[in-house]
Subunit: 613 residues, 2 copies
């Protein structure tokens, strides 16, 4: 008998030989199949659902019985991290785990800017040489591009194909330049699209926005899980992973590069193009994601004095990074501001034109970390706080990323609460915008008190019976049912006492930080012209909910605007406009980063805002 | 019996299996062993001498009996292109075939310039970060290099090692920058040399000059045959080779890149360094060599209107070209002027500071082609002429490159002529400087008349008996013995009637071109302040000989200066000085290239100067 078994993953068709007893999560990694999961295979998050189509695997574990609905178990669903291979098997990875390719931006609103990209296509009719015009082929090409003839260069490879390309179709050629360097030359009839990608590397989610560089039109988005999630849910655990494994950084880097390449591949396939048609990529992400993507040591980001390797914008040839676009395409990583205020925050500032505004404006980007940028009209202050990934749905009992079946709105309906799910699917969990709402509604209905204590539904006469019936369990195990079994795919979706504590901590950290910054520039909340909330919550945040839970300074509801995944929008803007790219650099130079923990006031504020309004 | 045999080449020790009947020249190519030769294996040049140490090869051919002295045949010498393998064999490739590494420049005189290279080493003590100085590692590094903090960038790889390097030895690091980009960072104790190479790709000979970039000191030179010689002796036959083989250009390019890499390897080994310590290479060569080195289509150089792919300076990362120096080191190819006036001529102009002179000066670079640059004091005119490789010793019966045993001087001694050989070795052939002298002496002694006719020693009473005895043979087979069997290694060294014709053609082409240029700027020869002759002739040219044969305009002997391999000197100057690099670019922009063949006058002049003075 062999000690090895073969497992095939559908629909990708990838297969791999692994020792008997290997769990499916690990087998998936070896087969290059990304299976969702945010607990690192500990059987906690319940996200790594797969379906056993054929073959022998180990018995259901108690964790699976707890996390999987009976209906799912019946159809053969298992948690990949729990099910161990006993023989050859065929495993289906549900499509919800796969890359989502969307035709349009959903939560990203990108302002319109004049097209002024770094990548240019020139369709040229180059004058033929003659004995009276013995200028070199390249010189004649350069002068045919009147706008930048003097500083134009070309890759050696392009020079290598230039003579033949020129003479193939009577001097008609299509030339692609990245900056002032020609990186592609071909005869006119072999012209192909000129594409670009804006990449937002979130700690949890990666999004690739495909853009037509000749029109600036956004074509499709491919998005999915950041595969580094399997090595840790947040930046700190990933840095720990890198520190504690010899090749840890390489493993993390390879994972994200492979994922981006896959997303790019799927996006270009959607429009009938190839990765080689992509000539530029702009990259945003927090400083840790930025460092790991570039292969920079992230260790010192997590140690005082929290110093990045570099905060400057990095521009480099795609092949130097293993990014599968045109090998001589350019990769532009937006600059960072500090160890915990990264290129994603710069993207938010660019997208919202924060420092171009006349009036004081506050921008808060809520992701796995919280970053705050305050523009006083004269100064740009930034700060970060360890908000935890609660508002992205992680470390929340039924938290999930925005996707079909995610509760994205919770509201009061008559005497009860009601929910809305993405695509009106049966509820599968709750995403960020739903959490803000849920917390606000629970406070409003009295299910949670100001200290964040979930009340005992039985004993508190102030609750309506309908509402009280939603509360179950004792003390720290107490929870509120948001969607009952009938409304849900895998059993009731609940918000637990522990969830409330997670939200409470994140909420307080953001609020305390915001108040500190306002004080530093001598601004009262009513001096703010606008409060912008960025983040990939599944839906634009409900301002009333944000105010109700005390997340935001006390400003009129009308001054609050959700701006969606503004970091991604910033990446798109810097892809299509050199002016916006310059703006990103200016923003970084202008930013004053504040380390809030240094202030003795911060802990006081933090304690103060642990109390809900 | 096997159809394959194994041949081992000593002293390299390389071996290869080839079919029975393969000649040693071809076997050498397959084994990666460069065997000299300029006739492409036709048994004509007699250069591919090897010694059979052991094993069975085919019988001596008639060509070998003609070209090899009996003493050589006795010791086992064969022509590699003639000897076919009949069984396993061990073959010794004589050391004269190998790379020559010299401690000093011989025929290159490099003027002294202030050291201002593109490559810089910085030994830094970078301020440590603190909670009051959270600037990134890179920013602190950049500001420690005060002179270029604002525009400094770094490769992603360097950023990747920066954090660890800084913290290994208390912030003491050694940083190497190429231009404004940091390409190497290491902890201070791991400091290594910073070297550069200037590479002169001649049609026949390649020279690599190794330079210490911290002092500007020239360390060693490694030089040897251009292995492309096996595919053709001159640029036209090499272009034909590229045109007529699918992978012709690749074969030619690979050959020269491999040779340069080998020469670099030997040069750095000589000083105890490694190729990775070399951070920049400057390259000169004629336009065809330049194109082949860069992989640019050379086809159109040889077709009217003789248009190069590019004439601009090309700067690119070493790994893009397969050059084995530091992978992120820079390769700077000097600009060219026209299809037949290349970066080598630009190097000559830079070395001689031609256009920085107040007075009109003529520079002639005599290589396999002849290039002429005339500075009028206001205009820089350039022209090329197909001089043929005669003055480099090729296509001359006993011609050879400058090396031990080459006749480098011929002079009149009493009633007779006498010769000098390099290193005072027994004569093996004649190199360029010897040819100029020989031609002058033969004219002076009356052995050759003004029309280039070698006289009959027996019938012409004007010759001394001693001299007359040197003439032998009839009509076109006639020849003059320069060194008799006693003075020589392989039998008498002669100059033939055909040799005289080759010299006569080259001589006339250069003179006619020169006169045309002078006329175009309205200069008489006596208006010239200086006449500079560049070329790798084995020795500085004797001005009297050059005047005697009519190679040069009629100027006083004192105005003529041999400047040796000035192209190589130009490559060294642009390696050590950015100012000289800029000068090379200015020269190219300033040059007016003249296609002489277009002028009907040219053919008249050419005929006129076929008559020796």
């Amino acid at each position: 008998m062999s000690d090895y078994v073969t497992v095939t993953f559908e629909p990708a068709g990838a297969n791999v030989q692994v020792p008997v007893g290997t769990n499916l999560y690990e087998a998936g990694q070896r087969a290059g199949i990304e299976i969702a999961g945010s607990c690192g295979g500990q059987g906690i998050c319940g996200e790594c659902q797969v379906i056993i189509a054929d073959g022998m695997v180990s018995e259901l574990t108690s964790q699976e019985r707890k996390l999987l609905a009976p209906a799912l178990i019946e159809e053969g669903t298992r948690l990949a991290c729990q099910a161990e291979l006993l023989g050859d098997a065929v495993v289906r990875v549900p499509s919800i785990q796969e890359v989502v390719v969307r035709k349009t931006l959903t939560a990203e609103s990108v302002r319109s800017v004049p097209l002024a990209p770094n990548v240019r296509r020139y369709d040229l009719n180059v004058p033929a040489p003659s004995i009276d015009d013995q200028r070199s082929d390249f010189r004649r090409l350069a002068e045919a591009i009147t706008e930048r003839s003097s500083d134009l260069t070309a890759t050696v490879q392009c020079l290598g194909s230039l003579a033949t390309a020129l003479r193939a179709e009577d001097q008609q050629i299509a030339v692609t330049a990245v900056g002032s360097q020609v990186v592609d030359v071909r005869q006119a009839s072999m012209r192909s699209p000129v594409l670009g990608v804006a990449v937002d590397i979130g700690t949890s989610t990666v999004a690739v926005y495909l853009v037509d560089m000749e029109t600036g039109e956004h074509l499709v988005t491919a998005a999915g899980q950041n595969p580094q999630t399997q090595f840790g849910a947040d930046v700190i655990t990933r840095i720990q992973y890198a520190n504690s494994h010899d090749d840890g950084l390489t493993v993390l880097r390879d994972a994200i590069v492979a994922a981006i390449n896959r997303f790019i591949g799927q996006a270009v396939a959607e429009v009938g193009a190839t990765p080689a048609d992509v000539y530029e990529a702009t990259i945003v992400g927090n400083t840790c994601m930025h460092h790991i993507f570039l292969g920079l040591e992230p260790r010192y980001l997590a140690q005082s004095p929290y110093v990045p390797v570099t905060t400057e914008a990095v521009s480099t040839s795609a092949d130097r990074l293993g990014l599968q676009i045109n090998p001589r395409g350019n990769v532009f990583c937006l600059p960072c501001i500090a160890g915990f205020v990264g290129a994603d925050t710069v993207g938010v500032i660019v997208a919202s034109e924060l420092t171009r505004r006349d009036r004081p404006t506050l921008a808060i980007d809520i992701g796995t970390n919280g970053e705050i940028a305050l523009w006083s009209g004269e100064r740009l202050l930034t700060a970060s706080c360890a908000a935890g990934p609660a508002f992205e749905g992680a470390q929340i009992h039924h938290g999930m990323r925005a996707g079909p079946g995610a509760i994205d709105e919770v509201f009061i309906s008559g005497d009860d609460l009601a929910v809305h799910t993405i695509d009106d699917q049966p509820a599968r969990g709750i995403c960020g915008s739903g959490l803000f709402d849920a917390m606000a509604v629970l406070l409003e209905l009295g299910l949670v008190d100001a200290k964040g204590h979930m009340v005992d539904g039985q004993s508190d006469g102030a609750l309506s019976d309908i509402v009280a019936r939603r509360v179950d369990g004792e003390a720290n195990e107490r929870h509120v049912v948001l969607a009952d079994a009938e409304q849900s795919a895998n059993g009731p979706i609940v918000l637990t006492q522990r969830d409330v504590r997670e939200i409470q901590l994140a909420n307080s950290a953001i609020r305390a930080s915001t108040e500190m910054l306002l004080e530093m520039v001598g601004l009262e909340p009513d001096g703010l012209d606008e409060v912008l909330i960025a983040g990939a919550f599944g839906n634009f945040i409900n301002p009333a909910s944000a105010l109700r839970i005390g997340l935001l300074p006390e400003v009129p509801e009308g001054k609050i605007a959700g701006i969606g995944n503004a970091a991604g929008a910033g990446a798109i803007l810097t892809l299509v406009s050199q002016r916006e790219r310059d703006y990103a650099r200016q923003v970084t130079e202008r930013a004053e980063h504040i380390e809030l923990f240094r202030s003795s006031d911060f802990q006081d504020r933090f304690a103060e805002y642990m109390i809900f309004p």
